[in-house]
């Protein structure tokens, strides 16, 4: 048995979203069973199945060191505040 991750995309501009996962013996069965498990009420217009073994993944230890870098959250608010102050001083 293999585990497949199921993604559904609604009609229109929505992106594919993870709907859940499914365990099946092969691709054909995975498609049929995913259809009944996740799309029987027409929850999506398109469906992707991805074998979980094919997913390239990274865990906490790989991502977490980036959590402590506030300087990467530059939203431009400091610059905007200074320019606003300059405009007000000039008028």
């Amino acid at each position: 048995m293999r585990i497949y991750e199921v993604f559904l995309k609604r009609d229109g501009k929505d992106e594919f979203r993870h709907a859940g996962s499914i365990e099946a013996a092969n691709q054909q069965l995975a498609l049929v069973l995913a259809r009944e498990s996740y799309a029987r009420r027409a929850e999506g217009d398109l469906m992707w199945l991805v074998d979980r073994a094919d997913i390239v993944s990274a865990d906490h230890s790989f991502i977490a060191p980036n959590a402590d870098k506030p300087h990467r959250h530059n939203d431009g608010s400091l610059v905007a505040a200074r320019r606003k102050a300059q405009r007000e001083a000039a008028s």
Binding site: I22, E23, A24, A25, N26, Q28, L29, V32, L33, A34, R35, E36, S37, R40
Partner: protein, 252 residues
Amino acid sequence: MSGVAAGSLSDGTREFLLCLADDEHLMGQRHTEWIGVAPFLEEDLALASIGQDELGHAAMLYELLSGPGRDIDDIALGRSAGEYRSCWLVEQKCPDWSDALVRHWMYDTAESLRWQMFEKSSIDELRGIAARALGEESFHVMHAEAMVAALSLSSDAHSRLAHSIAELLSLGVAMFEAPAGELDAIDDGVVSTSMVTLLPEWQQRVDARFGEQDWAAVDTVHQNGRTTRSDSFAPMYDVMREVLLIDPEAKW
């Protein structure tokens, strides 16, 4: 083709359509009995969903047969056992998963052939029902095929499936027995051909999927044009009418 109004169906045609409706109804009922107890969750959902489709087909046909003073609930659940026209295959309990799966395969393979008989029906509504049913049947067959194909690779499952085929083959053939009213239905142009003409194609598909069968040795099941019920019917009939017996006003 000029359409015949569904309200003016001949008695024979009504009886014939009842066969297909009752088959769908009882098959749906049997499939949904696997809710919560199928071998794994995904299969639980799939079989229940397929069962719902079959109940939907039954409801469309019962609707066609309904009229003033006889609504679809009266037809679906208000008849006596002798008035049903189901084939015996769909009446079986099949508590063994292998039997239930093989029955599902046999039934839906037959269905996908049977609905094609209505593609040129003289009744407008029936052509519509058939088109819708055929669209859904292709997924039912896909499900049954994929499941049987995957299981056939294991020797244990393969022998269990072979046992189920041997067990159910005569009932499978009996699906195609000429039901009461069939000649009238053909005369009325409601259906293009008799059911038994579909049997060779069905047998060929069985042979291709499960290996060559000894068709000459298959017992004949005496359903008497589907006018008699098998022993499995009575207990299912009681379950189907359980709610109705508590509340006669309940709607399906």
